[in-house]
Symmetry: C2
Subunit: 337 residues, 2 copies
């Protein structure tokens, strides 16, 4: 049997009452800033932090409330994840408290404080991009289990879930190779996104494994259809011979397809074009329906909620969970004939 | 001074104890179904229902919780409204409890029951279309204030807020007339949507006021870009002369523009095309950016939340509140030159 540090130990070490120590750590009541810091430092030194979640589970009646903090309430990535989380939590009879942090760390902190005050059992924190983000400060969450969704935490000890963009990049190239394409290029969005880097890296790896090199330099720009058109016009004007184009989202793919068709270049006969995101309007409404990857965001939301429920029961799944994207094959890479 | 019916009056009239009458109306405790019905009927006959909200405000401590019931968590109409509601409620220090009814009345009822059990102060009920919907049963909500958003309630005594599609239809035609167009036609989605009917009616009214008739029959189909292309091909093949086309959403407008351009018909020089919804990807990414109407859904969400907060304070705004759409003028109706 191991000896565990209790809140009483922290209070004793700081020469304070149990009530004051509790208030200081829980952010309730009026406590002088220096007292709060003293308690927090003492708790940290004694290693109290680590067992708060377990203690809370015993001490506190579960509220059945889950806090869902979204960075982007109108986002087309976070929304399906939010819907998926609600799928799981609704069935598990948990109520969802929703807030919009607008990606602002200060607002996020305030919202989490308010949710903690309402006694949430756990927090799902949804980002709008796959770029890793700093974790919420321990002094803010005080042991409430968290799962980071889509935008993972930079702390490997946290529970995070996102998509495996590297694997998707590999799969994109392998699909093009499988269609007999060997003159391949990438049309990308902004270079600094993790999604961009991971997909490009995966694609490079698959090309290297096939003993091939890209037939044109990767063109970076933005995520808009207009850039897809412009970049493809540049590609055509350059005279670079390409029979497979991996576009890092569906809007780029749509712009590329429109540009190829305008220049009398057939898709997929002359160039196979593959996109990313399976955004229905863009991918299916294009004159040539687009082969693309579905990020399975709704399923990710469901899975994240299950991970959180498990963490609340004391079985956290630490580290990064990567979910596979699904390849949806349409006419832009495989001719109907 | 008016005499108001109290819960005691209802209990007396039903020959029951105050506690039983309260339980029956609040859905708490174990009450036989016939007793519940008796109390509900008696309450209705005595006109007790109308003041439940006011009583609850006195009796019950406000929870600061607002229930948000969405019919469509991934919907591109309800999501901005949800974000707008959160804007207002967050600032007002109300927490938002979110559930997804998936448009199923039974699920909606269950979710509202659970929210009532958590003591929500009010409910925002978001629909995915402007078609009116039956109100939630009084026995389910028992006096909790409700505002119906986007999909209004069929009961004119309820508080509802949606867009004024009739006015938008008029404004669309008047904009085309203002650009010197007199040979006008409508390209529509499904005929049975309230949004379709209201926009067409508004357009017809504006044409009648201008002493004009449509130059082609209104073509009904679905909301997809492909139908926009097909319908416009039909229009061109028919030989009907049109210099202004009112498309009832942006995807139809985009399909129409693509079809016109393919046939060498210039937009807007030969035909001005106007859309609806200001869906950024479709409206701005089209080769000819699309003049369209913004439904101001986020502002609607904010306004709905203010209406609800007002109702919670005992000042409900009954009936239908119609919000204006905003005309966003782009190149599809007004040439840059």
């Amino acid at each position: 049997m191991t000896t565990r540090v209790t809140l009483q130990d922290v209070a004793d070490a700081a020469h304070l009452s149990l009530a004051t120590a509790s208030k200081a750590l829980n952010g309730t009541g009026h406590i002088a800033a220096h007292t709060r810091r003293l308690v927090q430092t003492t708790a940290q030194e004694l290693g109290y932090q680590q067992r708060t979640a377990a203690e809370k589970r015993i001490v506190r009646q579960q509220s059945g409330l889950i806090g869902l903090v979204s960075a982007d309430l109108e986002g087309r990535f976070s929304m399906p994840a939010l819907a998926g989380a609600e799928d799981t939590l609704g069935v598990a009879n948990h109520a969802v408290l929703l807030t919009n942090s607008r990606g602002d760390p200060q607002i996020e902190r305030n919202h989490i404080d308010q949710m903690a005050a309402r006694g949430v059992d756990g927090l799902l924190i949804l980002g709008g991009e796959t770029d890793a983000r700093p974790p919420v400060k321990p002094s803010t969450v005080l042991g409430i289990p968290i799962v980071y969704v889509y935008a993972p935490s930079t702390d490997p000890a946290d529970s995070s879930i996102t998509v495996d963009n590297g694997l998707a990049g590999q799969a994109a190239i392998n699909h093009l190779l499988g269609q007999g394409r060997t003159h391949i290029a990438i049309l990308a969005g902004p270079e600094y996104y993790a999604a961009t880097k991971d997909r490009v890296k995966g694609a490079e790896q698959a090309m290297a494994e096939a003993g091939l090199r890209f037939s044109a330099p990767t063109r970076y720009g933005n995520w808009h259809e207009s850039w897809g058109r412009v970049a493809t016009n540049l590609l055509i004007e350059s005279g670079e011979q390409v029979d497979g184009l991996y576009c890092l989202n569906d809007m780029l793919a749509r712009g590329a397809i429109e540009s190829f068709l305008e220049h009398g270049i057939r898709v997929p006969e002359d160039v196979a074009v593959i996109g990313h995101d399976n955004w229905s309007v863009t991918a299916t409404e294009c004159r040539i329906p687009i082969t693309t990857f579905d990020n399975n965001m709704r399923e990710m939301g469901r899975k994240a909620a299950r991970m959180l429920l498990s963490a609340i029961k004391g079985r956290p799944q630490r580290g990064m969970t990567l979910m596979d994207c699904s390849l949806i094959i349409r006419e832009s890479t495989v001719s109907k004939r």
